[in-house]
């Protein structure tokens, strides 16, 4: 596929890896956080971590909207479907997220709830138009990439007066989460990982542009490289970060210039501003309550806001005590340091949200990296060989 295959070329990858190894100073350590789940997945799937020298480490950040969706928000959706009898439309990503009492949207569906997986927000509105006798709720999640489509659908629902349609909004914001990682009070209890720079989101940045990251480069003195989702993109970005660190620069650089501009998609931004406003606070799984980190539906669209329409009250629910998603989402722990990883918690039976989405740090490591952690079994180490 054009714009995909050529950015997966093995020869160029070897060249970039050699350049990173050549330029990374062996006397120092480089720790870069890839904020976005798309990068986490690409790094695991394409074995990018194996191409890096030992002193260059990638830390997986919280940029997976499924992983940061707290139990209480999934409970709201499940209750709407089970107790209020709505048709609940959701992206496939959220169906298996573990909620209270061992439930998930998929299990609610098995209990008889009308939960429907949709590819697009527009499909949810289509279902509402075809099911006028029922309330249809779209369970909207996602970062800035996914928000403009929801805004378009809300605007269309209002202009064409689709009276049985509403949106349960869980859209969250990237810059607020990065600030939280850099300076939240929880850092004191969980500890923190010194970060030398960020691999910035690819598709989030198509919408918001590179300008919002300039603050991090200036205020926190951290280099940021906005990066595409293919393996060559990630390798090139790591090389650019290594160079910034070596040269003492803290700038926003745009590796993904084929799609991302400094100002972003201004039309999409205007649309989002027309339909949504900032929430004072929103709970993130793993990060806790983060001020001004999410969007709510504006009063002008109140009739299409499921929280107002059904009088929903959010109730925070603590995560499973043994689950280390909180520390993993901050890069303080690695998946294998969680007791549940690969035993009680697997992609088939996820306990924590990092195991649900293929972009979650735990699921990505389970799928592509878990055998790397084990010491290789050599013939000399087996009892038979020793006896012989």
């Amino acid at each position: 596929m054009k714009y995909v295959d050529e950015f997966r070329d093995g020869n160029i990858a070897s060249g970039l890896a050699a350049a990173i190894a050549r330029e990374a100073n062996p006397a120092r350590r480089y720790q870069f956080m890839e904020f976005c789940g798309g990068h986490t997945h690409a790094i695991s799937r394409h074995g990018v971590a194996d191409l890096l020298p030992p002193n260059v480490r990638m830390i997986h950040g919280p940029g997976c909207p499924v992983c940061v969706l707290p139990i209480g928000r999934v409970d709201l959706a499940i209750n709407l479907a089970l107790e209020r009898g709505v048709v609940l439309c959701s992206y496939g990503d959220t169906l298996r997220v573990p909620a209270s009492n061992g439930r998930s949207l998929l299990k609610a569906k098995a209990e008889g709830a009308d939960v429907r997986m949709v590819y697009s927000a527009a499909d949810a509105l289509k279902i509402a138009r075809a099911t006028l006798a029922r309330e249809v709720v779209f369970f909207a999640i996602g970062f800035e990439t996914t928000t403009p489509p929801t805004a378009l659908v809300l605007r269309e629902a209002r202009s064409s007066a689709v009276a049985n349609f509403s949106v349960l909004c869980n859209h969250v914001l990237t810059p607020a989460a990065i600030v939280n990682i850099l300076e939240s009070p929880e850092v004191r209890t969980l500890g923190t990982v010194p970060l030398d720079g960020f691999v910035g989101p690819a598709h989030v940045s198509t919408v918001i542009g590179t300008e919002p990251y300039e603050f991090f480069a200036q205020e926190y003195r951290k280099p940021v490289v906005i990066t595409g989702f293919e393996p060559l993109d990630v390798l090139q970005a790591i090389l650019m970060l290594v160079r910034q660190v070596n040269e003492g620069r803290t700038e926003v650089e745009n590796q993904f210039s084929r799609v991302v501009s400094r100002e972003g998609n201004v039309k999409a931004q205007a649309l989002v501003a027309e339909v949504f406003e900032l929430r004072r606070a929103f709970e993130w799984r793993g990060l806790g309550t983060v001020p001004y980190s999410a969007l709510a539906i504006r009063a002008e669209f109140a009739a299409f806001d499921a929280e107002r329409r059904f009088g929903l009250q959010y109730r925070a629910v603590p995560d499973n005590k043994a689950c280390e998603c909180g520390a993993i989402l901050r890069g303080v722990k690695r998946p294998i340091e969680c007791k549940l990883f690969g035993t009680a918690c697997t992609p088939e039976t996820p306990m924590g949200s990092c195991m649900v989405s293929s972009e979650g740090a735990c699921a990505a490591h389970y799928s592509y990296g878990r055998f790397r952690d084990r010491a290789p079994v050599t013939p000399a180490a087996t009892p038979a060989a020793v006896n012989a």
Binding site: I12, G15, L16, C36, Y91, L152, H203
Partner: protein, 77 residues
């Protein structure tokens, strides 16, 4: 979740829609978020919506820089 795929515009249709080619698969997507698209341009598509156009010159320049970085330290801009 923020997965988006490159798609080539085949035909613009009524209601801000377009028929696109995604690696050989034809699909109808919304182009309401990107103005002024013409057939044969590439866009990235996320949950059924084109989010941005792909700049072919920038893509080519990126590939050249990637290849050069492997040969010559300091070549990457």
């Amino acid at each position: 979740m923020c997965l988006a795929v490159p798609a080539r515009i085949l035909r613009l249709e009524a209601g801000d829609m377009a028929l696109v080619d995604v690696g050989g698969v034809r699909k109808q997507v919304s182009v309401a978020l990107v103005d002024g698209l013409v057939p044969d341009e590439y866009v990235i598509v996320h949950v059924g919506y084109a989010l941005a156009r792909i700049d072919p010159a920038a893509a080519a320049a990126t590939l050249v820089a990637m290849a050069a970085a492997g040969i010559n330290a300091g070549a990457l801009v």
